[in-house]
């Protein structure tokens, strides 16, 4: 097997690899396909400083390839390079979430994904990629792997199941120089100098997804209510809202007119499945409501599709992490769907079970992350918790179940907003950041003892 071979001892973060790549592939700054992450770039005296130069690792089991809804990724068989078909990419950026190595890059001008192509034409011609060809210190190479001298992992390198085609020469120089400067005083908290890396998820970029994920549980529950005879909605209004939800989520794409390509990869892409299952829900629900309102089995089928879609949506977000350590989130739309369905069916037992579940998950997360929250985040959390607690309280006070919708809905909106603003996705800079924090914790414990 062959690929990039990186020697941390030799890398000096000179950025020549990054520029060599840009020259070879005609990339205009600020776009670049290779990046350098510096561990401890603010030079904390307790830690070494070292660098990682990473581009695409052309993984054997490339996650980007598996998750692309448009099946736009393909592998150049000779070089092994993972490439993007620019005519198929819909610009959904889902691969930028899936890749823990931050290889795919969304190009704002082209509105599609670009990424390292391993300089495959060079490689197929017997040469090495431009970055490895021009590393001034010889830190970055390309060639056959040797398990005797090289390792699969390195400090700061995110571990995944993707089988990345990169090997590392063990870091001999990851030691800190002995120095005599007086130690950092306790008044300096690392929050003061440690800048959090890009989380990859930002509410302002993902508002279309937020709207969609708020609407889908309501639509599913709404349909349930109509079917059960608890709710009377103009079928065309329902259709309008369902169509708007679909269109809004298409706005999220770099290439909205290629939206139909999003169903090209149902076999392995949760995103493709989401769009497909929403399509099934949408068409069956509208057919039932507008054409065959008396054909109730069709309505039930639509609800089943809605529930499947809700389940699938939560899978789409599997790359999100909030730092709490558990991978179940209180704002998962499947739970929210169940919440609204039990509310509209006026079934207190399942309703309070879902509320209890959401509350436990929410409290667990907040308690874990409390110290790192900003004051306004704490206030929002407070409202969220009140919203969940109010429901059983009001019920005990004989308020009609359906009236609980309003406080609950506010709480759900808060939770989902937090979902997009508090979560982050694995990346090399994140990995380095987290390891620095962990290593500093370790170091300060040592000082105390």
């Amino acid at each position: 097997m062959r690929g990039f071979i990186f020697d941390t001892n030799k890398c000096v973060a000179c950025h020549a690899c990054v520029v060599a790549c840009s020259v070879e592939n005609d990339l205009q700054a600020p776009y670049h396909w290779r990046d350098i992450d510096v561990y401890n770039e603010f030079s904390h005296p307790d830690l070494a400083v070292f660098n990682l130069s990473l581009a695409c690792n052309h993984c054997e089991e490339a996650e980007c390839m598996l998750v692309c809804p448009a099946n736009a990724f393909y592998r150049d068989q000779d070089s092994g390079a993972v490439l993007v078909n620019q005519n198929l990419c819909i610009g959904c950026k889902y691969c930028t979430w899936a890749c823990a190595y931050d290889a795919p890059e969304f190009n704002q001008e082209l509105r599609i994904i670009n990424k390292c192509n391993l300089c495959y034409s060079r490689v197929n011609g017997g040469d090495v990629p431009a970055c490895a060809n021009n590393c001034p210190t010889g830190a970055l190479a390309f060639g056959e792997f040797n398990s005797l001298t090289q390792k699969d992992i390195a400090k700061g390198f995110p571990e995944t199941s993707f089988k990345p085609a990169i090997r590392f020469v063990e870091n001999r120089s990851a030691r800190k120089p002995e120095t005599h400067l007086s130690p950092i005083s306790n008044s300096i908290q690392h929050i003061n100098f440690l800048n959090e890396p890009n989380r990859k998820v930002h509410l302002k970029n993902e508002w279309t997804l937020l709207l969609f994920s708020l609407m889908l549980p309501l639509l599913t529950a709404g349909l349930t209510g109509i079917l059960a005879g608890y709710l009377f909605v103009n079928p065309f209004l329902f259709g309008l809202i369902a169509t708007a939800s679909l269109l809004v989520s298409a706005l999220h794409l770099g290439k909205p007119f290629r939206a139909v390509y999003a169903m090209r990869n149902i076999r392995t892409s949760w995103l493709s499945r989401e769009i497909f299952s929403y399509g099934l829900f949408y068409s069956s629900a509208l057919t039932y409501l507008i054409i065959f309102p008396r054909f109730q089995y069709l309505g039930i089928l639509a609800i089943v599709f809605g529930l499947i879609c809700l389940f699938v949506v939560d899978r789409v977000y599997k790359y999100f992490e909030d730092g709490s350590g558990i991978r179940i989130n209180s704002s998962w739309v499947f739970f929210t769907g169940l919440l609204w369905i039990s509310l509209i069916l006026q079934e207190p037992l399942p309703l309070f079970f879902v509320i209890f579940l959401k509350l436990s998950l929410y409290l667990f997360r907040k308690i874990k992350l409390w110290s790192g929250l900003k004051i306004q985040q704490k206030i929002y959390s407070f409202f969220r918790i009140i919203a969940l607690l109010t429901a059983p309280l009001l019920y005990a006070l004989d308020v009609a179940l359906i009236e609980l919708f309003y406080p609950l809905f506010i709480g759900e909106v808060i939770d989902r907003l937090e979902f997009y603003s508090e979560n982050y996705i694995k990346s090399p800079s994140r990995q380095v950041y987290e390891e620095v924090i962990a290593d500093l914790g370790l170091a300060s414990n040592q000082y105390e003892s």
Binding site: A29, S43, P177, H180
Partner: protein
Amino acid sequence: MKLISTACPRNCYSTCSFKVAVDKGKIINFEPHPDNRATPEGICLKGLSYKERVYSKDRILYPMEKNRAGIFKRISWNSALKQITEKLEYYRKTAGPQSVLFYESSGMSGLLNEISLKFWELYGGATTSYGNLCWPAGLEASRLSLGANRHNVPWDLENARLIIMWGKNSVETNIQESIPLEKALEKGARLVVIDPRRTPTADKSHLLIQPRPGTDGALALGIAKILIDTGHIDNEFISNHVYGFEEFRNSLSSWSVSKVEKITGIPSPYIQKLASWIGEIQPMTILPGYGMQRYTNGGQTIRCLLSLQVITGNIGKPGACWHYANLQSYVFDKLLEPLSYYPSLSKNTPFRRSISKAKLGIDMLAQRDPELKMAWVERGNPLSQNPDTNTIIKAFRKLEFIVVVDQFMTDTAREASIILPAKTMFEQSDLIGSYWNPYVQLRQKLIEPPGEVKPETEIYRLLAKGLNFSESIIDTHFPDSNDKAIELWLKTKLKVYPDLNYDKLKEGPQMAPNLQEIAFEDYKFDTPSGKIELYSSHAVELWKVDPLPDYIETEENIQENDSKELFYFLTPNTKNRIHSQFGNLDVIKQFDPDPVLDIHPEEAQKRNIKNGEVVRVFNSRGELRIKVRYQLGLRRRCVFTANGWWISEGGGTNLLSAPRETDMGYGTAFHDNLVKIEKIV
């Protein structure tokens, strides 16, 4: 597509060889040149940025004239040359040729640069500038001690067992030196870095010593004292090759570890440890940087450091080397640096009047009989790179007419009356040497100059015609700019060295004739005594300094009882620029978008300054507004920002530096520079 060999002419240690892929007259890509043993793996990001630099939308491609509203408009070469010729004739007639300042700097190396000076000589003279902004104090110190500036070939560093990067951040300023450095470390060598900053080079080291800036000489003398007291010196080497050891030893009687600790701020155990490593680990190579000698005590500091190399006998052997500057490839220069930096002593030459590069602004203003009326600037950006920018701006604005030859709209170009477009390294062939690797190299012409760019040789040839120089003079001194004529001119230079063949140079770097791979391996020293001179009477005669290496405080310094508001302002170089070049390119800006000031968070928090906040950095000479970045590896009471930012980019570190010369060599002491830092309210 063709792959053509060339070499980088920047003022940089590495002087890399590389190959350029050219297709249909355009630069496409770059390839490493493995024939250069010092730079075989590849060039740095700046070299790779040449593709943008050559074809940049911001490049000046036509002569430009500043109109009354202060806006530059394109003009024809005819109009530009006519105006310049008229001014030159007018000033020569009315005020004399010395009313014109000819200012050049280190923007691009090459033998053809001498044609510029020839033109001004034939014009009747001009006011020129002496000294240098970079390294003369250290060159002079090394020359006084060793007789010449030579060091071992770069790849010999891997033979050293103890490597001391003394004020040198090679990882950024000499990237390819990382190759032999890493090889040495792999073989178990120890690396010591001495620097107030924890630089990327320090991150590779075993021991980092962070002295108070400007006190390196004291540290060296203290260690010398320990080495002598403990007998860790090479007596045989000293008696055979060293002059003045007894005097040196006696002069150290007042030194003690506690005195060094007090001066440098380095705790005694660390001084002891460094001394024991120097005493016990052989062979040792000290690599002094050029920053330390840009203080008012710079030359003497370098002599102090060099004494450690000498008394331990670490000269003339593999792995044992004083690695300051290697001028062995400067084979075409009649007068080597630092002697070429001396001002002319003769009263009757065309260049009888020369002003200090270090004091450019005040010297320009001080000239009388005649006053300066016009300036011609090429290969330099004095507004950003010479000390005391505010005075320089004043001096430039007092002039009546300014011509600047440049590729981009630098701070200096903005002051011009007329800007002439300058060639890049790919648009005319030339021969270059290196002050680090041992090669003579041909910087080959690869493409035609774009737009209306003309090489300086052509500009001067046209001016010579305009000024009615005789045809025979023009033909003798100003080669036509066609490729054949330039090649012929260069081949004439090569005649002296039969081993240097033009066709071979077209293929790649050639070893300098008479190269000593291990410098001073013959133990011949071109000093008055023929030995290494610890005691130098020349030092006294030329510079009125102590004949022995000694330590005196820098002119601007912070003592324990001084105001807590003062900081040492450290302004070294970065990997992202060569002085004020490259920073304007998008490819560089993506890594280094704006100036930042590194400060220790404890110092910042005392002043309630947050990470990322813009602060005011100031002293009596000027001020800067700059964004703060917390850096925990920095010595307290020091702040750091890289030099070379243009004022128009918010940088301009020389707005704060003082116009002072170093103690020897006519260097520039801009590192004697204290500032205060203030929160902007």
